[in-house]
């Protein structure tokens, strides 16, 4: 990533208040203040997605905070309460900046969080997503316990398979283009209440993550949390996600295979991830250097990856897949299909 690139950030903050009580508004103000106190390397906006609250959140502006505090805040509102996934995807669709950060209305960031995450992005052009450790706190802000998870790629993959969701959702900073490439958060009811884990399950198969090994995010624990209200459903969804991920044996293969694919095709690891994801998702037949075949087979054991038969006329170039100017299958390339 170059220093002069657009490093703008949209902070996605979905809100649904059944009642605009004082405590809700206090916590929301605290969240917005914690965003304001960050040092963003570029422009930023706080996008409050009002998920059909009976009283529009925008109408409560004066109770949330001063005009100065809300200077970078933008509101979008859904006509009805469609649920968190709908609100998040609506926010993605409405965001204006190339980086997406997540925060919930009752949580807050600690100073320096965004800065440290962007340092990682600036140092590693292949990085697509960064998270931090978190501290569980009471609504009054009293710390309960701290969680800091492994920071390296393999550690994150291992954590995913052995334990669960590696990224505290409210600590995530990620590329918007990858969010959109992967289709945003899944609306599949089977993964309701673990929509983030389901998305990372897809993300980590193809893209590089990192973690700031510091607790820079306060997660507020209360009786109405998603885990408390929908524990069983969340558990069954998480099991489905984990088992799916485990079956593709990604832990030991993804980092090496992505590097090998990037090297074989002559692209960055980020581009290799985009190429592999699109081939997997859309079962594409693509002209590729022969050396790419093995790496792709490792990345997608759930696809029939092979050199296409001579009668297969569906092949497109990898440049087309990456939306680059097309070529017509360079010399020495073989059409690889992921059926």
């Amino acid at each position: 990533m170059r220093q002069d690139q657009n490093l703008g950030t949209t902070v996605l903050l979905p809100v649904y208040f059944e009642e605009p009580g004082t405590e809700n508004l206090r916590l929301l103000r605290r969240s917005i203040e914690s965003i304001r106190d960050q040092r963003f390397p570029g422009a930023y906006e706080t996008l409050i997605v009002d998920d059909g609250s009976p009283v529009p959140i925008a109408s409560l502006s004066s109770r949330i905070g001063s005009p100065a505090l809300l200077q970078e805040v933008r509101f979008v509102r859904a006509g009805r309460n469609g649920g968190l996934v709908h609100a998040l995807n609506r926010g993605l669709a409405s965001s204006r900046h190339p980086y997406i950060a997540r925060l919930d209305a009752d949580d807050k960031w600690l100073p320096g969080k965004i800065e440290k995450q962007f340092e990682q992005f600036l140092q590693d052009p292949d990085l697509t997503i960064s998270a931090t450790g978190m501290t569980l706190v009471t609504p009054a802000g009293k710390p309960l316990e701290t969680h800091v998870r492994p920071g390296d790629w393999n550690g994150i993959l291992n954590f995913f398979v052995e334990i669960g969701c590696p990224f505290p959702h409210g600590s995530v900073l990620a590329r918007r283009d990858i969010y959109q490439l992967l289709g945003g958060y899944s609306h599949d009811p089977r993964t309701a209440h673990c929509e983030d884990y389901a998305l990372w399950g897809l993300w980590l198969r193809f893209f590089k993550p990192a973690m700031v090994e510091e607790a820079l995010y306060d997660y507020t624990v209360h009786a109405r949390s998603v885990s408390a209200l929908n524990g069983l459903q969340q558990q069954s969804g998480s099991t489905l996600v984990r088992e799916t991920f485990r079956a593709v044996d990604a832990v030991d293969t993804v980092p090496g295979a992505l590097q090998a694919l990037a090297k074989a095709v002559g692209v960055t690891m980020l581009q290799a991830g985009i190429l592999a994801y699109r081939m997997w998702r859309y079962r594409l037949t693509v002209w590729l250097p022969r050396g790419a075949l093995e790496a792709l087979a490792l990345l997608m054991p759930d696809r029939d990856v092979s050199a296409a038969g001579s009668g297969d006329h569906r092949a497109i170039t990898w440049e087309q897949v990456l939306a680059q100017p097309p070529s017509n299958g360079a010399l020495g390339e073989v059409a690889v299909r992921a059926a």
Binding site: N89, D188, P189, R190, A192, A307
Partner: protein, 872 residues
């Protein structure tokens, strides 16, 4: 929203319109004051609906029966002929078995009395030497095993101690005949009584127990720590195994043997059979019990959904027939009289049993050398030769054999690749087979392979079942064979033995031949030339602890499913019909879409939300509201949308006499008239919404895949409740038998609509959406199913109640679309069905219900029947 599905699905799946309506009615009734009365009515209505559903199902079946009656007659006659053929074949096999009885007895006698025969032929002075040689051999085996309890023996049999003879020698010369025990927990008589073959062959039970690895009755079980076998014991066990010496069930007797589609004749088998029906039954039962115990002990999980479904829904009859008809490849030369063999072992990091594996290879090499007088077996090991103690197993091999063990680096995680080919050429091998690092090859393996390669000189692939063993060598099961034409359905057994000739290509077209022997390669071979399945057991496959097996099984499930899909694609090439091969997609993204929204103007609040969901898309998508009603309704809709500041195109469909397809056709006419402005189009009803990334996802799909119709999934939602999964996808060809794609779940490429003037039926009130999808399929549209939820339909109280009012019309519509589906199936052909089946990802969707699996089988039958009709 409106979607229709048929063919006996559960109500919530089978008939969405009705199901939604009923569910909506239930929701509504909760708010009525006369709850009890309404409840009864609702109950009655529900009962009536279920009865009606049953009636319709029966009538549908009758209709199909009529449509297929002529084929049924033919099928029945064919079945009768096949039955007669089968019975005749069975009688012939029985006769062959009886005739072979004498030969079998002679063979066994030859084996068991050979030693005594030789003794008789020797001069008197050499007979003592012969006996001593024999006894010394047995003595050495017992001594090296460490299992003989000499102290106990002396104490238990004082007369033996008094004789002054070595206890082992005493046991062998006199004790065994007198029924003495070699140790306190081994009863030779009981052991022998459980294994009648020992008496027949004149083998000492204790020696046999040592050689076969069986433990004394109070000895260790599989889960106990492994005994520290000495190399001598390992070697003794490996060397002494013979084809007919193991346990109570002689190897291969109860197993089948086939060459391509035909059963091996008795004189084509290496080891003749001595089998009565009772023996076979007992053996079959032992196999079942052993399989069940193995499944439980190692936590074997059922195979992946894809495997189960493909085995049921694929045209297995056609596949069997194709595999059974194969002939030896015309370019295949005959095997050499004394072929050279290469054993290939790829290390994967489990060293615990590698020394046993090496000992078995050494024993095979020794036995083979004794038999043929030259060294002709090479062992190629990838990834090191270290055992559990990090010592090289090469110390088992004397210097003169070291040249026949080739150690290679494992350069690729995908197998051996080019270096294996080089090594095979260097070894001059004609045949090669794999041996896993924890498995053991039998010492008679090459003798058996010699026999079969001589009898089937143009055969290039030989399969044998494994003897499954536990970590400590305990025999768990003698696995069974299946004929090669069942390879697709039965799969490869874990640890199946496969030997292939080096001139048999194992690669796919366009790929290098890495000599990887896997299920996929074998399926390809089975479709191309006869595979030989032999009854004998040539190796022992060691089962590792359950934790290891679980990970391996998940991986194996994926690769098996992948192999089956690859095979189906290959098999489809042999079939007639449409291929659905997409041409290369047009470069450039699809940037503009049109959403045709059908409304009668009766639920404007819902319409506003529908239009808003279209306007929220990230890809430019124009809402085109088609108002089915008079000018007044159209004006009302315009005013409402303007008041809500919703920018939508509103066009009228004023003819109230025309039915539900009419407004959609008005929308299609608009798309065609403005084709240059829109790259794709899709439909919505005025109570549906699309999620924010709907257009972006489907546009990307159409653009990248080059397909004509991109299909997503929908949620269903009762207002104020969380969304629930809507209709699940099936292979596209299944549309010929029922609908599973709601009308708002797919986007069509405008270019396809322009080239194909398809229209909705305007004279039907029901199933016009299913009819349109069948028309798309029949017109050759290329579908792509995206297993992502991108939209939502709502279950509300004003569903199409017309259905209840006009049941006869509904059934008339259903018959019409079904007939259209049959014709589409005939035109599309079996090739299209097989390709669709192979392309569908069953793992990404929820588990199929039995009704859905049944539907797939039904669809296959339809395609099979239509294939027969086409041939006529």
């Amino acid at each position: 929203m409106d979607v229709s599905a048929v063919n006996g699905q559960a109500p919530e799946d089978a008939e969405s319109s009705g199901a939604h309506r009923d569910m909506a009615s239930d929701v509504g009734s909760a708010f009525l004051p006369a709850a009890a009365s309404t409840g009864e009515q609702a109950h009655e209505a529900e009962l009536e609906r279920v009865r009606a559903e049953q009636r319709r199902h029966a009538e549908r079946s009758e209709m199909r029966r009529r449509l297929m009656s002529s084929s049924d007659l033919l099928s029945a006659r064919l079945e009768q002929v096949l039955l007669e053929l089968h019975e005749t074949k069975q009688r012939m096999e029985e006769a062959q078995r009886t005739t072979a009885g004498l030969r079998r007895v002679l063979y066994l006698r030859r084996m068991s009395f050979q030693r005594r025969l030789v003794r008789r032929l020797l001069p008197e002075r050499l007979r003592l030497w012969w006996d001593e040689r024999h006894l010394s051999g047995l003595e050495r085996i017992i001594r090296e095993s460490g299992l003989f309890d000499a102290a106990w023996y002396r104490q238990a049999y004082p007369e033996a101690a008094a004789s002054g003879l070595d206890p082992i020698r005493d046991y062998l010369q006199f004790g065994a005949a007198k029924g003495r025990w070699p140790r306190p927990d081994f009863d030779p008589d009981r052991y022998a009584s459980e294994r009648p073959i020992l008496a027949f062959l004149g083998l000492d039970p204790f020696v046999h127990s040592i050689l076969s690895g069986a433990k004394p009755e109070t000895g260790q079980r599989a889960n106990d720590p492994l005994p520290l076998d000495t190399d001598a014991v390992l070697m003794a066990r490996a060397q002494a195994r013979g084809p007919l010496l193991e346990g109570s069930e002689p190897d291969g007797w109860f197993n089948g043997g086939w060459y391509g589609g035909r059963v091996l004749a008795e004189d084509e088998r290496f080891a003749p059979r001595l089998v009565t029906p009772e023996d076979q039954l007992a053996s079959d039962m032992r196999f079942q019990v052993a399989t069940s115990e193995l499944t439980q002990r190692y936590g074997i999980r059922p195979p992946a959904q894809t495997i189960e479904i493909l085995r049921k829904a694929a045209p297995v009859g056609l596949i069997r027939s194709a595999c059974a008809k194969t002939e030896p490849h015309r370019d295949a030369r005959c095997s050499q009289a004394m072929p050279r063999y290469a054993i290939v072992t790829v290390r994967s990091g489990s060293a615990q049993h590698f020394r046993s594996c090496a000992a078995s290879v050494k024993a095979l090499m020794d036995r083979d050398y004794e038999a043929v007088g030259v060294r002709r077996i090479t062992w190629i090991v990838f990834g090191g030769v270290a055992d559990l103690n990090s010592e090289s197993v090469l110390d088992l091999f004397p210097a003169d054999m070291s040249a026949f063990v080739v150690e290679l680096e494992r350069t690729s995680s995908h197998g051996a690749g080019g270096s294996l080919k080089e090594a095979l050429i260097k070894a001059g091998a004609e045949w090669h087979f794999s041996l896993e690092e924890a498995d053991e090859i039998e010492a008679h393996a090459t003798a058996v392979l010699d026999f079969y390669s001589a009898h089937f000189p143009r055969c290039r692939s030989i399969l044998a079942s494994p003897v499954d063993i536990a970590g400590d060598g305990e025999v768990l099961r003698r696995n069974r064979n299946a004929s090669p034409d069942l390879l697709f359905e039965s799969g490869l057994a874990p640890g199946q033995f496969v030997a292939v000739r080096c001139d048999l290509p194992l690669n796919r077209e366009g790929e290098a031949d890495a000599r990887a022997i896997d299920y996929e390669a074998l399926l390809r071979v089975a479709l191309d030339e006869p595979v030989l399945v032999i009854p004998e057991y040539l190796h022992r496959h060691r089962w590792l602890p359950a934790s290891d097996c679980k990970a391996a099984a998940a991986n194996s499930s994926l690769s098996t499913a992948r192999a089956m899909r690859g095979f189906l694609n290959l098999f489809a090439q042999q079939l007639a019909g449409q291929s659905d091969d997409r041409g290369a997609p047009q470069p450039g993204p699809l940037t503009a879409g049109l959403c045709i929204i059908r409304t009668q103007g009766s639920r404007l609040h819902l319409l506003a939300e529908t239009v808003a969901s279209v306007l929220d898309q990230t890809v430019s998508t124009r809402p085109c509201v088609v108002v089915h009603g008079g000018d007044d309704v159209e004006a009302q809709v315009r005013a409402w949308l303007a008041s809500q500041q919703l920018d939508a195109l509103v066009i009228g469909a004023p003819d109230r006499e025309r039915r539900r397809g009419y407004p959609l056709n008005v929308g299609l006419d608009y798309v065609r008239a403005n084709a240059s402005a829109y790259d794709f189009a899709f439909f919505l009803d005025d109570d549906d919404i699309i999620y924010p990334l709907y257009a972006e996802r489907l546009a990307a799909l159409l653009s990248l895949t080059g397909c004509d119709v991109g299909v997503a999934l929908a949620n269903s939602r009762v207002p104020w409740k969380p969304p629930q999964p809507g209709h699940q996808q099936l292979p596209v060809s299944a549309l010929v038998a029922g609908n599973f794609i709601p009308i708002h779940c797919y986007a069509m490429r405008t270019a396809f609509l322009t080239a194909n003037p398809l229209r909705f039926q305007e004279d039907i009130d029901y199933l016009e959406d299913w009819d349109f999808l069948v028309s798309l399929l029949d017109a050759g549209a290329r579908f792509f199913l995206l297993p992502e939820v991108l939209c939502e339909y709502r279950i509300i109280g004003d569903g199409n109640q017309n259905e209840k009012r006009n049941r006869d019309h509904f059934e008339q519509c259903e018959r019409m679309v079904l007939e259209k589906g049959l014709l589409a199936a005939r035109r599309l052909g079996m090739k299209r069905f097989v390709r669709d089946l192979a392309a569908f990802d069953f793992e990404e969707r929820a588990a199929l219900s039995p009704a859905e699996v049944e539907r797939l089988v039904e669809v296959r039958t339809i395609f099979e029947i239509q294939m027969t009709e086409n041939r006529r």
